[in-house]
Amino acid sequence: MKRNMQRQRGSRATAHVRIVLIVAVTTLAAAATPLQAAQADSSILVRPHNFVVNPSTGPVTYLSVKNTQDKPFSGVLKATFPDGWKATQSQHEISLKPNEMRKYPFAIEKAREDLENNRYPIEITLEGGGKTLEVKQNAVWSSAPYYKPEIDGKTKEWKDAVPITFETEGKRTVVRLYWNKKQFCLMVEVEEDDLVGLKKSSAEKGMDAVQFAVSLTETSTGDKASDKSQRAEFLIADSGKRFGSDCCHVLMQPGDELGTAKKARALEPLTLEGGVAVVKRSGKITTYEAAIPFKAIPGLKPTAGREYCFSLLVHDPDGTGVRDLGSVMNLWESRRKEFGWCSWENVKWGEKLPFDNKVEFGFCSSIH
């Protein structure tokens, strides 16, 4: 369940009116959360970044703060990490120009991982301009450990991956990643009532699929159709064939014109050479497992500690519609981009654009 409140309270000490936003996200949930909506109303936006390496190794993590006002903002940014965690500093004095966004580092000295739940509550307080903004958000450990799985649709080899679990209209999605020197691998478990693969798909029915994008850090998505892509984007779907690989397609490569994203292209010509995918159905769960050769992700070096961007959509047109991993990353509404994701033949989009394909992830060593 999710609980959001926005309320104002008077400051007894200063008699200033303080705006206090308390957001407690007790489960990760899909679509545009009230948290984001609430933040969108605020003149100052905050967001904890994901932990891109094992929290227990003592990484530096960041909080992003955006001043959406047309005037400067200065104040104090404080962060409280989960119980038992220790950071080298708990606050920053911050100063932001009008419409400026900056990120502030917090070095973690001591942390305890929770691999099963993989959600770490962070309490953020921002004091400034006579106001106090208090936000409680969950950050996730968004990392791919090293491993070479056999791509067979079985989950047993994925127990040492770092699961990111979220719910959309009561349906669970679990995303796990691995890397090795040759392949970027993922396993997505989708709870859904039915599987509509390539064979059964139509413009009316749509098609179930997993769509994901990988890009280098410090890249962005342009706003014009003529802008060049800075991402590699892929689609995995059930081929309906009894034997052989399921569908593994490349929708976009760095350097492609972003306008391509708007075209409803047939998938057959977009088959990814060297890509392997297996889609299996067991009970109410569809399992998508795939390995993408790193040569299909230009510029990304497979090495422990490397950071990159990863985002993922699950298409469940006869159920929840589009499920967006970005919806549980505390992203701001401004992160929805017109050219953020590619269309394809029979795709069914929801009313809202998904979040942009640029969420921070990392490669780490095997976790034990």
Binding site: V53, S56, T57, G58, P59, V60, P105, A107, R112, E113, P145, Y146, Y147, K148, D160, N180, K181, K301, T303, A304, G305, R306, E307, G362, F363, S365, S366, H368
Partner: protein, 344 residues
Amino acid sequence: MKMNWLVMLAACAVLVSGCATTKNLATAPAARDGAIVIETAAVNNEDPGAAGKEAAALLKKAMGGTEPKVVVMFECYDELALKKKAVAGVASVFPKDIICGGANYGGYTEAGAHDSEAVLLMGIGGDGVAVTAALEADMGAQGLSMDDDLEKLTEVLGVAGKSLASKIPDVSNGKLMLLIADCHSPKNQLLMDGVQSVTGKKLPITGGSINKNDGQTYVYYRGGIYSDSAIAVLLKGNFNVAQTGRQAKDNAKVISTAQEGSATAVKDLKGKPFAAIAFDCAGRKGKLDDLSDELSAIHKSVDKDLPLFGSYCAGEYGPGDAADLEKGVPYGRGWHIMFTVLGK
């Protein structure tokens, strides 16, 4: 059940190590005015056997007529079969009995940095240095985590560290210990606690935790390949060492701490440097925008011709730089570059 598993593990260790000896490596005592020769070599090649052989040939040439007493070897290939070929390549040039080391995440020598698929070697020889090395196999730490098994880990790594250090006779006049182990940060401090229960805290120790990627966790000892193990190499002789440890977690600081830490070690050294050893964190490597930047930073502080052996590891041994740590005492840490300069 547990006993069977341990027996299997021991059997695997034997299988992997073949007929290599697990006995101590011990050379003649150091001659007071004898020469000390430390040289490095590294080769990047998709073929691990060719990389090992070529690196060993380069090292042999660099050593001149001096036979190494120990060859410290690191490699970064991602399968056991490839690792075996790398070790065999080195052993085609040098006696396998003197090959000790482990799997890492790449590294550097004074000649350049290597990201992956490389063999890196450091030869230590000459009348002026004595070498003693020991192996502690099957420590019982594999698969245990700090979060869930802290008590057990503290026990087994403490016992393993103590046992390993006890195998080295007379550390009292040791000058530098290299510690290479299958226990990544933050577990590495637990092993260090065991080692220091024998050596005390004043013995300069440096070293690293081997690559912890699945299927890559191997330590090399006298040509044998072991998992869940640790080795110690003690150097004695008429030379001095100076050590620094510097922590960093972003690109700019990785570069600046490498430069400052190495400069401080050189400044603190009594005598003229003849070699440098850096055990560096793979996490730091991951933060570098350009892999060569850290080596370039070190070369702003030390002579570019000074033999330099750098290894990116899953945890490092050396003096940590946190305010609450005892100065000059070696610790097991992460995110550090542990820089050691040897001179006379």
